[in-house]
Amino acid sequence: MSKMGISTYQSYCGAQIFEAIGLNAGFVEKYFTGTATRIEGIGLAEIAGEAALVHHKAFGDDPVLANALDAGGEYAWRTRGEEHLWTPESIAKLQSATRTNNFATYKEYAKLINEQGQRTKTLRGLFEIRPAGAPVPLDEVEPAKEIVRRFATGAMSLGSISTEAHTTLAIAMNRIGSKSNTGEGGEDPARFKAIKGGEMLSEIIGKNRIASDRELKAGDSLRSRIKQVAAGRFGVTAEYLANADQIQIKMAQGAKPGEGGQLPGHKVSEYIARLRFSVPGVGLISPPPHHDIYSIEDLAQLIHDMKNANPSASISVKLVSEVGVGTVAAGVSKAKADHIVISGFDGGTGASPLSSIKHAGAPWELGLSETQQTLVLNRLRGRVGLQVDGQLKTGRDVLIGALLGADEFGFATAPLVVEGCIMMRKCHLNTCPVGVATQDPELRKKFSGQPEHVVNYFFFVAEELREYMAQMGARKVDELIGRSDLLDTRKGIAHWKARGLDFSRIFYQPAVPPGVARLHAETQDHELGKALDNKLIAKARPALDNKKPVTIESAIGNVNRTVGTMLSHEVAKRYGQAGLPDDTLTVKFKGAAGQSFGAFLARGITFELSGECNDYVGKGLCGGRIVVSPPKESRIAAEDNIIVGNTVLYGATSGEAYFRGVAGERFAVRNSGAVAVVEGLGDHGCEYMTGGMVVVLGRTGRNFAAGMSGGVAYVLDEDGDFEMRCNMAMVALEPVPEEVAALDGADVEPEGHGRVHFNHLGKADAVALRGKIEKHLRYTGSARAQLILDNWARYLPKFVKVMPTDYRRALQEIAEQQARQKEAE
C-alpha cells in the first residue's frame, strides 16, 4: 500500500488504484468491477489456459524443472528466461555503434528494439505506422540538429549516478542544444560557470571529487538545463533555480509512481550530502507527496513560486502514465505549467526496489494518448509543451511518441548504456563496476563514457526518425505531433495472449475544429507583471547593483503571493548563493501576507512583517531573514495564536526565521539549514529535517521529528509530555546540558548551512539556545522570549533537545576523521 502512496487501510479499500492492461472489459467487469481497462485483451479462457500451463510445468516431467525453479529472468536476464529489450546483443550493438560512430551498427541495434516480432515487449511494438503521404526525399526532412533539440535526458540525480556520468550527460546535451536534467539531487554551483576550454573537469568540481577526469572544450557547459524540484527539495536554492532553463516539478516517477526517489545511505557521500544539504551516510527518500501540495491549487501556487524564482525558465510538471492522467494534465495546464512530462512505467528500474520493477505504473502510450486527447478536447494543448519518457530507445519510439502527441522526448537508460551502463541492476548497492551508478571513487575511476558517444547516440536516433519521416512523407516533426490516425495495430501478431487487443481508444482523435492546437503553440500568462516584487526590485536597485543598504516600507495583502522570490532571483542571478552582505536590504511590510511570503529569500534580505502570514512562509529559504510579529497595537496573546500558516520553511536551506506566535502544521519540514524560533507548532513539525535548528518556545503538535535525520530542535516542554507527541523512530531526546560550557563560546551562526555543526554535539547547546532566544526577542519583541530569558535558570532544564541518532553518528564520524587528520599532520 505504501508503494501506492496510501497510508491507511481505509484509503486502500475501494480506492480503485489498479488498472488492467490487456484484459477484456467483460472479464474485468465481472471480476474486478470498476477497474479501468483500456486496450481490451484476454478473458477468462486464456487466463485459465495460462494457469493450466503453469500447473503443467510444475507437475510435469520437465527435466529442467525437476530440481530447480524456472529460470525466471524477470529481474536479471537469463538465456531461457523472460524476454527483455536490453539484451547482451542490443547493449553491445548500441555501445559499439556510438563508440565508433557507426550508423549501420546503430540500425542493427534499432532493429533489435523496433522489430520485436513475437516477443511483443511493448505496446508500441504492436503498432504499425501508416504513411501520411507520398515519400519525400530525405534531404527535405527537418535536419537532425533541429530534431535533437526536442530531446532531453531523464531525471537521474547526482547521487544515483556518479559525478562523472552526470557531467558527461550534461556536457553532451549542452553541446547539441538539448537538455539534461539535474534529477532531484541539487547541483554544484561550480557547474554553472562558463567554460573557457582546456580546463579539466576536476579543476571545476574539485580535485578529490573527480575520479575519472576529462578535458573540457570551449563552449562546454556542465550545467543541467532542467532543474528538478522533487518532494525532498534537495539542494533547491534560489541560485539553483536561477540557473535553470526549465524547472521540473516531479509529482511522481513513472517507474515507481507511489515511491519516488530513494538513495541508499552508502551512496550519500560527503559531496552528495553537501549538495543535498543532508547528512553523509543517511539514506534519502523523497516520496511523491510534496508537503506544499495537497490540491491542484497548491500545485498552481508552486508553479507560481517557481516562475517567480526564475521568470525566464519554463515550468514543467512531471506526471506519470495512469488512468485519469489526462484530467490531471488538464488541471496542470490550467495551473499555468508551461510543460508537462508523461512518464512511463518501464524506466528507472535499476535503482527501484525489486517489488516496483514489475507491475507498477503504466506504459506511456496509454498516459500520453489520454493526455493528448483530454488537452486537445479542452483546448488546453497549445498552452503546454508535452514530453514523454520511459524507455525510449530508438527513432521509432520517438515517432510513436510524436504521433500520440508528444512535442519532446526524454531518454535515460539508453544514454546511460551509451556511457557504459551494462544493466548490472546493482545501482542500489553502490558497486556499479563501470562507474556509472556508484559513488565509490575506486569504481568511478573505471568510468569510460564520453560526451561524444552520447552525442552520436542522439544524432542516430534523430537520423533514424528522419528516415521514417521521409518514408511516410513528413518534412517536419510538427506535422506528425498528435497524428494518432497514422497508427494502426500490427497485423499478424501470433502470440496467443495478444488476441483481442484493441487500440482504438489509444488511436482516437477527438473531434475538434481544425483551428484547435494539437501541439505546443502558445505561452502561459503567469501574471508576473502584477507582482509586488516588481516594485521592490525597482526600489532595491542600489542594493542589487551596488550592495548599498536599502530599507523599503510596503503594505502587503493576501493577494500578494510569492513576495520576495523574484527579488531573490535578482540577487541569485548576480551573486549566487553568497547573496548580499547581511542586512543590505530590509523590507518592512504591514498587513496580512499571501501564500509563499519570502519564498527562497536570499541572503542579505530581511523581511519584517507586522501582521500575519498565510501558508508556505519562507519556503526554500536560502539565506534571508524573515521576522513576523503581530502588529504592535494588537492585543492578542501572541504566543497563543497562530501567526503563520502551514508548511512554513519547507525545504529551507539556510537563513533565519523568527515568528512571534504559533505556526501551523508541517513546520520546517525538510529544513536543511535554516534556523527558526517559533512559539508553538501544529502537527508534523520538523519532519524529514536534515539540518539547521528549530527552537520551539511552546507546545508542538503530534508526530514531531518524524523521519528527522539531521539538525537539532530544542523544544520547551513545560508540561513534560513532549515525548508523547514526538515521533521517536529516528531521534533521541535529551535535556539541554546545564553545564554551560562556555568552552566554545560563541553563538552558532547559520553559516555553513547544511554542514554538520559540531556545536550540535552537546557542549554549547545552552549557549546556542540562549543566543537564538535573545535574537528572537530582539527581532520580534516577544514577551515569551523575555519571560524565558528573565528566568533562564528555571526554563533551561525544561528544554528538550531533539537529536537525530543518524546525525549524532555522522558527527562522531566526522570528529573522528578530523582527529585522525590532525594526528596525521
Binding site: G60, D61, D62, P63, V64, N67, A68, A71, Y75, A76, W77, R78, T79, R80, H84, W86, T87, P88, E89, I91, A92, Q95, S96, R99, T100, G350, G420, I422, M423, M424, R425, K426, L429, T431, P433, V434, E442, L443, K446, S448
Partner: protein, 487 residues
C-alpha cells in the same frame, strides 16, 4: 550472488601449471584445478550481473552467475547440477574451451574477467571425485530408435539427451574408440582420455549403445581423416532400422596447401601426426611419424597448430617454427570496441610456452626436398591491406624443415558421407539445416538431422555440445510431437 564486493577485494587467480621441463616428459595433463577455497574466492568475484553477458557469450548458455554463487557458498553439488543443466560435458569444456564467456564477462570491460573456466573445472573435477555424476536413465522408454553418426561432442551430447528422453540411441563411430576429435585430435596433455571413458560409462548406463569400427556411407575417407572401420553400413539400411538419424560426423576434411613439393615425404596434415600419437598414448601402436631431432614447421596458427607444437616438443624436436598467414594480432584488444565479443588478440597457448618460434604474415610458396624427402620450405612475407593480402616483393626466404605439419583448418565434412545420405548442402559443403524455429536441425532428407561441425563447419567443442543438445530436442519433437528436453 557471489560476494557483493568480491570483485573489488580479490584478484583473479589462474590455474597453476606444472613447469615446462616436467610436463614435456610425458603426455599427461599439467593444469591443476583450483582447490576448494581458491575456487570459492574466485566465485566471490562474480558480480551477478543484471545482464550476465557471460551466459550469452557461452554457446551452451551456462548459467554462470548461479554456479559461481553456489561455489562461493560452498554448495558444490548444486553447482554441479546447475552446470550440468546446460552442459553435458563440463569435463571437456573446462579443459579445452577457449572460454568466450570470460571474454564477455562484465568484469573484463575494465578488469580481469572472472575465472569462469577454472571454476567450472573445479566443480566438475570435484563432482567426479565425489561420485556425484551418476546415470540419469529415463523413467520410461519410448521404443523409438535413433542413430547418431559420429561420437564427437555433438554426437555424444545428442545421444545422451535422446537416451534421457527415453529413446534408444545408437552411436556409430568409424574408429575403434569413442570420442571423435576429443579422442584423436586433442592431445592427452590437454584432455585426459580417461575422462571420455568415464563419461561413456554414464551414457551407457543411461542406455546409449556404441558401435565402433563402423563406417556409415559408401567410400572410405582419404588421408588426414582417422578411420579404422572394419565394417561399412549403408545409409539406406540405417534409415530402415531407425526412426531418425543425426549426422554428427564433424568437419574432417583438412585444408590442403597445394604448392610445389606438397608430395614430398615429411609433409603431412596435422591429424596424420596427431591421431597416431593419441593412439600411441592409448596403447594402440606406435606413431609412424616422429619429430625427434627434427626441424619442425607447423603451418597454421590455430589450436591444431598448437597441438602439433606441443606434441613435437614432447617428441624432442630440434626446433619448432609456426607460421601464420594472418598478421600478428595486437597483444591487447581494444576492449571498448570488442567487448563482449571474442576479440582478435595475440593468444599464447601452453604449447607455445613450451618452446616455439612464431611468425605471422607468412605464406608458403614451395616445399623443397632431396630424394623425395622434405628439407625445407620457401616462404614469402605478406602485407595485409583492407583485408587483402599482398606478397612483399623481395621478402622470400627459405627455412630448414624435416617435418612440415599442415594445420590450416578443415574445409568441410566428408562429402562422401553427406552424399551417401543425399542431404542438401550449403555453399561451404556443410549439411544444410537451420537451428531455430520449426524444422530446425532437419536436413533435406526425411528422418535425417544434422548437428555440430557437420552442419556448421569447423568450430568449438562447446558449439558441438550445443548443437547436439538442440538437435536431440528437435528429434524428440519430431518423434513425439513435443519435447521437454532443454534447448
Amino acid at each position: 550472488m557471489g560476494k557483493i564486493t568480491g570483485f573489488m577485494e580479490f584478484s583473479r587467480l589462474s590455474e597453476e601449471s606444472l613447469p615446462v621441463a616436467n610436463r614435456l616428459k610425458n603426455y599427461r595433463e599439467f593444469v591443476l584445478h583450483l582447490n576448494d577455497e581458491q575456487a570459492q574466492t574466485q566465485g566471490a568475484r562474480c558480480m551477478d550481473c543484471g545482464i550476465p553477458f557471460c551466459s550469452s557469450g557461452c554457446p551452451v548458455n551456462n548459467i554462470i552467475p548461479d554456479w559461481n554463487d553456489l561455489v562461493y557458498r560452498g554448495n558444490w553439488q548444486q553447482a554441479l547440477e546447475v552446470l550440468h543443466s546446460t552442459n553435458n560435458f563440463p569435463e571437456f569444456t573446462s579443459r579445452i574451451c577457449p572460454a568466450p564467456c570470460e571474454a564477455a564477462c562484465v568484469l573484463n570491460i575494465n578488469e580481469v574477467a572472472v575465472g569462469i573456466k577454472s571454476i567450472e573445472h573445479a566443480i566438475i573435477d570435484k563432482g567426479g571425485e565425489n561420485g556425484w555424476v551418476v546415470p540419469q536413465p529415463p523413467k520410461t522408454k519410448t521404443g523409438k530408435k535413433v542413430a547418431v553418426i559420429g561420437s564427437g561432442p555433438a554426437g555424444l551430447a545428442a545421444a545422451q539427451q535422446l537416451a534421457r528422453a527415453g529413446h534408444d540411441a545408437v552411436v556409430f563411430e568409424k574408429n575403434s574408440r569413442i570420442g571423435g576429435l576429443l579422442r584423436y585430435g586433442i592431445p592427452d596433455f590437454k584432455l585426459d582420455k580417461r575422462l571420455i571413458d568415464w563419461r561413456m560409462a554414464q551414457l551407457r548406463a543411461e542406455g546409449v549403445e556404441f558401435r565402433t569400427g563402423v563406417f556409415v556411407g559408401k567410400e572410405a575417407p582419404g588421408a588426414g581423416v582417422a578411420n579404422d572401420a572394419q565394417k561399412t553400413v549403408a545409409p539406406k539400411e540405417l534409415l530402415k532400422n531407425f526412426d531418425a538419424v543425426i549426422l554428427a560426423g564433424g568437419s574432417e576434411q583438412p585444408r590442403d596447401l597445394p604448392v610445389p613439393g606438397r608430395e614430398l615425404a615429411g609433409v603431412y596434415y596435422a591429424l596424420e601426426f596427431l591421431i597416431p600419437q593419441n593412439k600411441e598414448v592409448a596403447g594402440d601402436g606406435k606413431n609412424p611419424i616422429s619429430a625427434k631431432g627434427k626441424h619442425v614447421v607447423v603451418i597454421g596458427g590455430g589450436d591444431t597448430g598448437s597441438d602439433c607444437v606441443g606434441t613435437s616438443n614432447r617428441h624432442g624436436a630440434a626446433s619448432v617454427t609456426q607460421f601464420e598467414v594472418m598478421p600478428r594480432p595486437p597483444e591487447q584488444e581494444n576492449k571498448p570496441l570488442t567487448w563482449p565479443n571474442w576479440p582478435m588478440k595475440l593468444r599464447t597457448s601452453s604449447s607455445h610456452e613450451e618452446g616455439c618460434a612464431r611468425d605471422w604474415s607468412v605464406a608458403t610458396k614451395e616445399f623443397i626436398g632431396k630424394g623425395g624427402k622434405v628439407t625445407g620450405l620457401k616462404a614469402v612475407r605478406l602485407e595485409w591491406k583492407d583485408g587483402r593480402m599482398q606478397e612483399i616483393p623481395g621478402s622470400e626466404f627459405e627455412i630448414k624443415a624435416d617435418l612440415v605439419l599442415l594445420a590450416m583448418g578443415f574445409t568441410n565434412p566428408l562429402q562422401a558421407v553427406l552424399d551417401a545420405f543425399g542431404v542438401a548442402k550449403d555453399a561451404r559443403g556443410n549439411a544444410r539445416a537451420t537451428t531455430d524455429g520449426a524444422g530446425c536441425y532437419r536436413t533435406s532428407v526425411d528422418k535425417v538431422f544434422a548437428a555440430g561441425d557437420m552442419r556448421r563447419g569447423q568450430s568449438l567443442v562447446v558449439w558441438a555440445i550445443r548443437e547436439g543438445r538442440q538437435a536431440a530436442r528437435a528429434v524428440d519433437e519430431y518423434l513425439m510431437g513435443s519435447s521437454l528436453l532443454p534447448r
